[in-house]
Assembly symmetry: C2
């Protein structure tokens, strides 16, 4: 099926899902959970094919791990669906009407975004997450997963289609783009007339390709070169605990710390901070001063400051003052999550004011940048852009609004 | 100055304006108003040069009218500045903090968008409007006006620069792109790293160029193929008055009606509706049935249904039912403003639910799609897209938010 056909079918399914009541949508999601449960063997068999294909092309362990589906991961998908069922419908409420000077009654009504294209890699649970969040918020989804997980994604799509059919809804509410041709993606992201939003999730290269070529509005996700700045006023033990958590607790995700900036005040005690990190297996890449004070450190290159390692590697530098830290973050940050450890209120305030990022922490780990931790109950990705939504994206990110104006014959003079 | 240099200077000015208090920003705006008043002769002289240049290239009357600055229009600019001074600062409030499950206190803080590029044509007052709304909301503006108004825009920019200097603020807070080379615009809209937002205002061609080539996030404005659907349940006299107002009261703007869809029920009385329009100078372009019932109508072509006339021309068609009207709007609308005239509540509800547009009216003129009518106190344009802002854009559209997270050592487990 060509790109225009996929997009056209998605547009045609829009009204069927937008018209569903909250109860109807929850009933569909309940069926999705049931279908996933009933189809476990089929899903695992499809996944086995994908894993075999990947192993043959000598994929790395981490890659295979992201691709793998297990009984527990299916449990996780089902639990995720149940959680979304329990969330409030973001479009169900009718907001306060207010009367304009003209006498017209104005209601700013939340509505589904429309047709959303999601482009992602590897992890098959994204297929379920995205479809389920899409249905809950009244949208139509076009899903384009990685080609390495095609068989698994087909099996998951079949569960979703069966649930929709059971409730007499068009299966085009969730389409899977099965064509692995890259050209198809390039075409889809230019169909501004048919597709309302595109969300890329995956490698920096994928995100860059979409951002640079899409005429469909994009939400840029995920790229996280997160910094922690330890001020001279920091509570030192807290700083050490936070640094360890932000780097080591789960290094492969976007909200893990990649660069540690330490006020020169702490130079005599730098070993207290860096040794525990080294002991936890972190490779320290330091500036000149760091390397002199902590010989186990490797010298950092210019490239290192702008690298998202997603691994047990950490860039570390001393800074003369807060301003230098802010300057560094301004230059190398990706506007994801930035942290200051300080007890000085003015230092915290200045950091909050001057740093430009989706999430700014004072005295807490950057690892909290997460839809569930934020109380959204769901997460479709983490936006690093400024438009429409910033930080963790839940159901509300998949909605827009319309002005509904009720008059009794008002004309403009 | 090349594009990167302009953008870089804008970035450097960001923090100076973002740090200003509401009082400081209002003081700058007061100086802007004073400067405009003091520089009237200089502005008019510059405008005279632009007008002469335009007249020599045989510009049309409407074009010259958009370009012309008069004492009254300067009064209008000054009054506009005073109005913005009286508006609340969109970033001044500190919203409700709430405590997350982790114990971290979370504040979703409104902040200025950052660096905003505005690309517009002809009307020099946009230079002042955009700069003033930008400053009020704490942003840095890069303004690229039409080359036909370059001398006028320079004179206006000088007023803005003088006001900023008077308050010891960098004049790079408002930059005018003086280079008339189109290439410069093409380069600026690819500088996603330095420029946070681009707003194009002007011809459909300008907007399309920006939307298709920009990697900087865009707010698509203005294109308005607005429809009015007269239902069988309409109050007939109201329908006639609304149709007249929506087409004739100010035909050249984006919220004027371009297509009238009439339920076949009204066929015997179609003259009541179309004659007043024809008498007001409107050229009716009708479908086959309209032309048979109203011989003064010209036959409409396929192209007419998708044309924004911005003139006293109106496309008219009969529809068999509401569904056909909604279908037509879905196909030809630009998601700007759409109207139903009906007394039947279910018909109104269905229209509201099914039509996809920024503003949907029941029984009021589409001419009310305007920032001032909406109570925003200002208008930087009308968004026809779904992302970030929809419909009339006021100060809030020029802001985004940051999550500010206050912890006391929380780590993620």
């Amino acid at each position: 099926m060509d790109a225009v056909e996929i997009a056209r079918r998605a547009q045609q399914a829009r009204s069927a899902v937008a018209r569903c009541t909250s109860e109807e949508k929850n009933a569909v999601l309940l069926s999705v959970a049931d279908m996933l449960d009933a189809q476990r063997e089929r899903i695992l068999a499809a996944n086995a094919c994908d894993l075999e294909g990947a192993a043959q092309s000598s994929a790395q362990t981490a890659f295979l791990d992201r691709l793998r589906v297990t009984q527990e991961r299916i449990d996780g998908m089902i639990e995720g669906v149940r959680q979304v069922i329990s969330l409030p419908d973001p479009c169900a409420r009718t907001p306060q009407a207010h009367v304009l000077a003209s006498g017209i009654t104005c209601v700013r009504q939340p509505v589904p975004f429309g047709v959303i294209l999601m482009i992602y890699e590897s992890r098959p649970n994204v297929t379920v997450d995205a479809a389920v969040l899409g249905i809950k918020s009244g949208n139509v989804m076009i899903l384009r997963g990685g080609k390495e997980s095609l068989a698994t994604n087909r099996a998951l799509r079949d569960c979703l289609a069966a649930a929709l059919e059971q409730h007499h809804l068009p299966t085009d509410i969730v389409q899977l783009v099965e064509d692995t041709d890259r050209q198809r993606v390039q075409e889809l992201i230019r169909l501004r007339r048919y597709i309302d939003l595109v969300i890329p999730r995956g490698s920096a290269a994928l995100i860059r390709t979409v951002v640079e070529n899409s005429t469909v509005p994009v939400i840029e996700t995920g790229s996280g070169i997160c910094h922690m700045y330890i001020d001279s006023s920091a509570e030192w033990e807290t700083a050490i605990a936070l640094a360890l958590n932000a780097k080591v607790q789960r290094p492969s995700v976007c909200n893990a710390m990649e660069t540690l900036l330490v006020h020169a005040f702490w130079q005599p005690r730098i070993g207290d901070l860096l040794q525990p990190l080294a002991d936890a297996g972190v490779e320290i890449r330091g500036d000149e001063k760091i390397c002199r004070c902590f010989p186990a450190a490797h010298p950092a290159t210019e490239e290192d400051w702008g690298t998202e390692y997603n691994d047990l590697i950490l860039s570390v530098a001393f800074v003369p003052d807060e301003e230098a830290a802010i300057s560094h973050i301004q230059q190398y940050g990706t506007r994801h999550s930035e942290c200051i450890v300080a007890t000085d209120r003015q230092a915290v305030e200045r950091f909050m004011q001057e740093v430009d990022a989706a999430v700014i922490y004072a005295n807490a780990s950057t690892r909290f940048t997460d839809g569930f931790e934020f109380g959204l109950g769901a997460e479709i990705g983490i936006s690093t852009q400024k438009m429409h939504v910033r930080g963790p994206m839940g159901l509300e990110a998949l909605t827009t609004y319309e002005y509904r104006m009720f008059g009794d014959g008002q004309i403009r003079s």
